[in-house]
Structures are given as structure tokens and as C-alpha cells.
Amino acid sequence: MDIKEIIKPENLVYSKSKVQIDTITHYCPGCTHGVVHKLISELIDEMGIQEKTVGVAPVGCAVFAYNYIDIDWQEAAHGRAPAVATGIVRLNPDKFVFAYQGDGDLASIGAGEIIHACNRGENILVVFINNGIYGMTGGQMAPTTIENMVTSTTPCGRDHERNGYPLKMTDLVAQLPGTSYVTRQSAQTAASVRKCKRALKKGIQNVLDKKGTSFVEVVSTCNSGWKLTPVQANKWMEENMFPYYPLGDMKDSEKGEPVSNN
């Protein structure tokens, strides 16, 4: 059978979502941001919530997310996405509001905002992209940088005596009573991307059901910041990040339950 006979509209099984704007992203080749943008776009399309969705973009590489997903966006000051999302959802309780943040944004300057938004149980979804580095500004050490990881500000590797320990934000927010669904996912293989999509869908559904804050961490790569090829970066993440940031659900319960399941 000729390829041209297969390429027909009736045989289509996978294509770009209508919610995703047809443009070339500014992300580096192989960046996990692109995968997560795609998953969010597909879910908004499948769940039919494009008109009621408001995204809050961070400071970081994903600052231009409004160019890539065709929904309403609000840009927040560095780390303040959960605070801005709180304001939006309190004034518009029928909207689906999500904050999209990186680790330099959420875990350092925005650590206070995220803890208090989760503790209040604001009805928002937080998508947390954790690549263990400040990717946009040149690969400096972030709070989530794992021990012995070489960055431009820790050229001999992160030493806990000097730089402290890596911060597990997902474990922290899982302890808070305001959160309903807290999970850690990744997006490096087809299976993990599909799993991550199911987790994001559950997070969105929880917000639509007004169950409290949903928090989805995606352990990601920053191949340009890590100075690796995209394929090598995925392998490095599996070997080094996953032992410290184990994947899986931390909490899946109703708002108001004080302790996580594990």
C-alpha cells in the first residue's frame, strides 16, 4: 500500500489540537515545556473548556505560553502565579484557572505564595515543571537542583553544606489540608506522557468539581542548561532525578484531610 493511500483525513489518528496555536515555539529542541503545553491544549479541547479557562503564566521559559495556547492568560510577577490565580478564581468562581510554573519560579521566590495558596485550598490547578535548574537565565542552581549536580553557579556540583538540600515542593504541599490531588509525573517516554495526561485530566476535573487545589509536578529536562542532547538529558533524568524525585501520586483525597496518603 502506498503512503499516499494511508494519508487521508479518514485515517487520521493523531494531530495537533485546535486549542494549540499553530506556531513554532521559542523552546529549545526537546524541551519538556512543549510536551506539557500540548497535553494541556489537548485536555482543554477534549473537555470543552476553552471558553472558561484562564491560565496564569510564570516568569521563566514558559513566560510566552500565551503565544502557544489559545485561551485567556494573565502574566504574573515572578513566583506570584498562585496569588494571581487566587484573585481570578475568587472573582470568577465558574472559570477554570490554572497556574503554570517552573521550579525557579515556584520553589524559590514563589515558595510563600504556593504554600499559602495550597493551604487555603484555592480552587486552582498548579502545573509545576521541575527541571532542577534556572533554564531561562543561563542554568543557575535552583532550590530543586539535586545534590552533586553541576550548574553554572555550582561548577563543582551542589554541596548540601554550602547550598542546602534540594527542596521537594510536591511532598511539602501534599502535607497541607487544602490540597486534594498532589502527584509527580514525568514526560520523557510515550507511556509517561500518556500517564501525565491522565494526571493532568484528573487535576482539571478536581478543579471543575471544586475539590480544592490540585498540584501536578512534571519532572522535566533542560537539555541546554544541563549541556546534554535531548535524548541524553532524558536518560540523565531517569538515572539521577527519579531516585530523588520518585514518581507517583502523593495525595488523592478530599480537601480538608490534613495528612497525605503515604
Binding site: I6, V13, P29, K38, T189, A190, V231
Partner: protein
């Protein structure tokens, strides 16, 4: 058993040559082209189109969403 044939269409200009699709393909269909697109990236293409089963793994992992997949039972 019904045989499944697939076809992958890569948006040549959108591809950044990250090779994640090449890695994800279970049938070794995809490879990076020796030629480059207008932005200088070695874009992905079907090197071995006969083997494609239309599993959509390449499209799922593509960070630039530049892969469209078709599948037909023969």
C-alpha cells in the same frame, strides 16, 4: 490477524531535530534527515516507511507537536 499500516507526516519547518521521536519509535521507522530545514535543524523523516504501525508514540513525545499520524487496517 489484520495488519496495520501507518504513516507519519512531519512538519519539516516545525521540527527542531531533537530526535525524541526517533528514540520513541518501536519499529525504527524514523530517522533524522541529512538535509536541514530553513532554520538549520536536521528534521525527522520516515526512513523506513514500510515498518510504520501508526502507534502514535512519536507524535505523543514530540515537544513541538509537528507530527501528524495516520493509520489504516489492511
Amino acid at each position: 490477524m489484520a495488519k496495520v499500516r501507518g504513516a507519519v507526516v512531519v512538519d519539516k519547518e516545525g521540527c527542531k531535530g531533537c530526535a525524541l521521536c526517533v528514540e520513541a519509535c518501536p519499529e525504527d521507522v524514523l530517522a533524522l534527515n541529512k538535509d536541514v530545514n530553513s532554520r538549520g535543524y536536521h528534521y525527522s523523516y520516515m526512513e523506513n516507511p514500510e515498518a510504520c504501525i501508526g502507534c502514535a508514540n512519536c507524535g505523543v513525545v514530540c515537544p513541538d507537536t509537528c507530527i501528524t499520524i495516520y493509520r489504516v487496517k489492511v
